[in-house]
Amino acid sequence: MIQQVIAIATKDLRLLVRDRGALFFTVFFPVVIAILFGMVFGKMSTPNPFEVVVVVEEPGPLANSFATALRGDSALVVESAPNRESAIDAVRKKRVAAAIIFPVGFDARAETIFSGGSMPIDCVGDPSRAAEIGLLQGKLMEIGFRQLMLVVSDRDRLMRPMGEMRNQIEGNRQMSDSERTAVLKILAGVQELSGAKKGEEQGSNAIGGATAAFEFRPVSIRAEMMTSGEIEPPSSYAVTFPQGVVWGLAGCVMAFVTTFVGERAQGTMTRLRAAPISMQIILVGKALGCVVSSLVMQALLLTLAWSVFGVRPLDPWTLLLAMSIVSIVFTALAMMIAALFESSGAAEGAGRALVIVLAIVGGGSIPLVFMPPLLRTISVASPFRWAISAIEGPLWRGGSIAEQFAAMGSIAIVGVVCASIAIVAVAVRRRGS
């Protein structure tokens, strides 16, 4: 029994390897897709212009001018958002690298800048662009200093806090006399400077001295990182090799259907049925061939991804388990297609079309991780999508054992459904004949 099963599987694999067309679709095409798309997507994810979204929660002259200064910066692409929530959402969806929020009370606090206040800014960033966000914070500081000039240059605005400050300093008993004198001197300098600013651009040295003396930070940034909740693939190839697997599986399914239809067309099915083996043995033998070919194809693709493109599986053994389950499930799918569409050449064509549509919808054209929400919803109907989910976990996504087994369980359920449909289709046909 085992001997016959192996004989049939070996025969089918030998025929597959010798069939250039089948080999093209099961191996060559998937590899080309994986590499080509990997290169294209790799280009796409190279740092694009640093996009930020700006929210002014409470418009005021200082907040507005700060935002305008930000917009004028050539290194940034700045868009506006109506409120904090939509700005943070843009970060979460990775439309922008960071959200910069001028919170309620920005102007009020900016005005107390010489009495211990500072310009408050909330910065919510995408952790995958942490380095750039560090630079962004430096930039906010720099703009903050420039904005300070605005505060300073407005004599009326300045004089109000200056007056208060002078009173506070003079009344401060904890300060030593020398300290008090030094600070009052600086204050006088600032007052003097702002007077000069009104007339012409002078005295910038004086403010440099003043800030140095205070270690003055005009901007206080409250930074926060917002993960999208989605784990990023380590490289574009981690996405495109599973995408290649989709096409490889489609190739294996079609190759299986072809061998099945071929047995009838060549008359060899008569020979198989005349042999001292049951129909079940014939089916199991052919199924084994399909399982082995899909497993070898997946192993080939993912080994190539590992060795040449550096996609190192997080958990090779679980990956092997997932690949095995996927192979069995797609064999069930192949049997379903063969059972539903084997009756004629035209039906076989319809079966092929169905496989291709399922492959496209299930992540063959646009990888699952890049799919827009609508397509992602539709993809649920495709077994290919579930195969990718099961493979991606141990390949790069990670996640708990429970999550990974849930993914494998889902694809296994797909397999059971396909096998059931195949069995029912065969039973219905038998009754009909």
């Binding site: 025969k11 030998r14 060549q266």
Partner: protein
């Protein structure tokens, strides 16, 4: 060895086989002779367990109904339609089918089998490159590879050159001499005359006459006066002259 009893089988409203009974003994070559569409292949399918009769019985002495896999081990079938994988070589083809029959075939046995059908020089060539005659011979070699005790050959010489045809007949005779029971179908009178011990003339699903060549000619040949043309006369007298499928 093989006995068919009142086999009937219909395809829809067409009664393809309508009560066929036939015996094939060890070392005996029985020919099922009839025009196209007579029901020969349908009879063969039932005799080899490929098709379940609507009624009637098939029995393989000592092994029962060939609808059971273990009984089919005794049968070597060469289907009317060539049944070969064009992607395999001749040797691989024989090896594959012998494995299906659970026979461990050694290299020298494979070589002998290829020699028997005159293909020893082409053992490592793909079947797809073979001529019609060579494919026919390989089709026969597959039926022989597991040394069956019953050979069922459905039009084994259809569409082949005279050399191949003569070769196939030799093989049939030598297997029968070795004790094999042979059921061979044909619409070729010459073949039936040359290779069969017993001939059953079949048409429209029924056996019209049954016996040795001389018995048939005596019973159904042309009456005195006309030049006897042997079996051809018998066939035309029995089945009429209207054209068939």
């Amino acid at each position: 060895m093989l006995s068919l009893r009142s086999l009937r089988r219909a395809y829809g409203t067409l009664q393809a086989v309508d009560g066929v009974s036939l015996q094939v003994g060890r070392g005996e070559v029985v020919g099922l002779l009839g025009p196209n569409g007579a029901g020969k292949s349908t009879t063969v399918a039932m005799a080899t367990g490929l098709l379940r009769p609507d009624s009637g019985e098939v029995e393989l002495a000592g092994f029962g109904d060939p609808i059971n896999p273990h009984a089919r081990r005794q049968i070597g079938l060469a289907p009317q339609e060539l049944a070969l994988y064009s992607g395999l070589t001749a040797t691989e083809t024989l090896l594959f089918f012998s494995r299906l029959y659970g026979v461990a075939t050694r290299r020298d046995q494979l070589r002998t089998a290829l020699e028997e059908v005159g293909l020893s020089a082409r053992g490592h060539d793909r079947v797809g490159t073979f001529s019609g005659g060579m494919k026919r011979r390989l089709n026969l070699a597959v039926a022989l590879i597991h040394s069956p005790s019953l050979l069922v050959l459905d039009e084994p010489t259809a569409g082949v050159d005279p050399q191949s045809r003569a070769h196939v007949r030799e093989i049939i005779r030598s297997r029968a001499t070795a004790g094999c029971a042979v059921l061979v179908t044909t619409h070729d009178m010459e073949e039936a005359e040359k290779v069969c011990d017993m001939i059953a003339v079949m048409d429209h699903g029924v056996i019209l006459a049954h016996g040795t060549l001389s018995q048939l000619v005596a019973a159904h040949g042309s009456k005195a006066g006309a030049a006897s043309r042997g079996l051809e006369d018998v066939l035309l007298n029995l089945t009429g002259r209207s054209l068939r499928e």
